[in-house]
């Protein structure tokens, strides 16, 4: 029996939360688990990866992996796969990991399953389709390793491992497989909690009618500790708020205590990113909007009146 490989996204701050979730998926196989961590922060991430179940961490801190998007990582990963013959390689369903997975598939000729929510062994995975209304079980065939991309937040990360053996990886990446190079990075300074970590998410959609109405959502979020503002794809595509706000199939997956959807119809693409919320409140003027059927509390009404009134009522109850 081979190993299960986990492709772990890392940064100077440590492993991305989804990397630890992938280890939780892999531990379920009952086989040796190795993590592959490439780029600045990799070696320092090995401890956390070990604690979450990686027995081995193949690591390189070489900046080539941060400076070039996907080719160097795919090149080195393909080499590790050839050397160690794992049965499966797990990736996160994120833009960066997906690009490495797609390139790895071209090298290995193996099967690739995207958008999985569970994987019971290297040959059997599950996905939710049609906005999570149906579940498909899929059998994976073809040469090893199978490649499975798992949606973030489809499992809880779990401690319980030990010290991982760290194996330094040779980052000798030829010039002709480096490809595009990052020359500038622009981070928008966000205030408040990250969307993925927020206890309450207030999200706006097409029904807001324009960028200005997001100020109403900002005010509501400001009246609740630990709340963040998000958006549907329609609002992002219209250019009203940046892509970093987007919740859904394309975008972020959130699981807050309370999700408030204002002016969002509830297309399947959106539902995938928020249906795991503990409580869903939907405000929509259309009584037939699909989001109302998903909501624990649906309100048919005008968000331009309701949202400020909710903010007002919260402030009144808090006596401020």
């Amino acid at each position: 029996m081979g190993d299960a490989f986990v492709y772990a996204e890392v940064s100077a701050e440590g492993p991305k939360p989804v990397a630890l979730e992938l280890l939780a998926h892999a531990r379920g196989f009952g086989m040796p688990v190795a993590a592959v961590a490439l780029g600045p922060g990799a070696t320092d991430s090995a401890r956390a990866l070990g604690e979450h179940g990686a027995g081995t961490v193949y690591a390189s801190d070489d900046p080539v992996f941060a400076d070039h998007p996907d080719r160097p990582a795919a090149h080195v990963l393909a080499g590790l796969v050839a050397d160690h013959a794992p049965d499966v390689v797990l990736f996160a369903q994120t833009y960066d990991s997906r690009d490495v997975a797609g390139r790895l598939q071209a090298r290995t000729g193996s099967t690739l399953m995207a958008n999985a929510t569970a994987v019971s062994d290297p040959r059997h995975a599950r996905a939710e389709i049609f906005g999570g209304t149906q579940v498909v079980e899929v059998e994976l065939d073809g040469p090893s390793p199978t490649i499975v991309l798992l949606r973030p937040k489809s499992i809880a990360a779990e401690r319980g491992g030990g010290d991982a053996e760290v194996v330094e990886v040779d980052a000798d990446v030829p010039d002709d497989v480096r490809g595009a190079r990052v020359v500038e990075r622009h981070e928008e300074q966000a205030s408040g909690p990250r969307l993925e970590d927020a206890k309450v998410v207030i999200a706006g959609g097409r029904g807001l009618g324009g960028p200005d109405a997001f100020a109403l959502l900002d005010e509501l979020a400001a009246s609740i500790d630990g709340a963040a503002v998000g958006a549907s794809r329609a609002a992002v595509d219209a250019g009203w708020v940046p892509y970093s706000y987007q919740i859904g199939q394309t975008g972020k997956t959130v699981k807050p205590e309370v999700y408030v959807a204002a002016g969002i119809s509830g297309a399947l693409q959106h539902a995938v990113g928020m249906k795991g919320a503990r409580r869903i409140v939907a405000i929509n003027k259309d009584p037939d909007a699909p989001i109302l059927a998903m909501a624990d509390l649906g309100v048919v009404g005008d968000l331009f009146q309701l949202v400020p009134a909710i903010t007002e009522e919260i402030r009144r109850r808090r006596g401020s």
Partner: protein, 249 residues
Amino acid sequence: MDVVVCTKYVPTETTLGPDHLVVRSGVDGMLDPGDEYGLELALQLTERHGGEVAVVSMGPGEAGTAIQRALAMGAQRGIHVVDPALRGADALVTSRVLAAAIGRAPFDLVVAGVESTDGYTGTVPVTVAELLGLPSVTAIRSLEPSDGGARIERMTEGGFDVYETPLPVVVTVTAGAVEPRYPSLKGIMQAKQKPIERASLADLGIDDVTTTQRVTSVSDAPAKQGGEVVQGDEAVPRIVDLLAEAKVI
């Protein structure tokens, strides 16, 4: 700058057949709306810098309508890979087919959507890039030629990164990056005169189309408890009560 745009014909409404495959024939379909942004970006680039836009699509006979729409928007020619053996093709087979079709003409740039709106796999463009030995940048919002290469802005979780890359390069274009044009009446008329090359698997020299995934069961997800719908004056206190019950205020 010659551009190849990968396009997909998708059903207007996605349904599964009794064989658990997406039903693609005999149902209403369209050019994947997610592909129109890349097509628009390609058209704008060739209008400013010269060159041709060719669209490549793999799909059943009906996929010709998606190519027609792309031609009506302004692409110069189409390549339609159609072969009964491709029904149910997986991501790797699709990538091999597209790579072979793209490689039939010279190009500086390959453009695709970030992911299809029926399957959402989102790996085919990079797999094509690897098969062609090319660099790629995904989820871009702009591209400008510069010094024999290109300067590209890529969307990230918290903002955007700027990349420099040699050409040819494979890119995927995010929705909202540009405003796709509507085909004009003149464009629709002209499209009927534009060439569409039809290619089979044999034409592309591909014989292995083994699919490596099999859906063994489809079942309904546990239904969500039907919630309560309220209107009027009681709405605001009810929402705030719910927030209080959740202990977030």
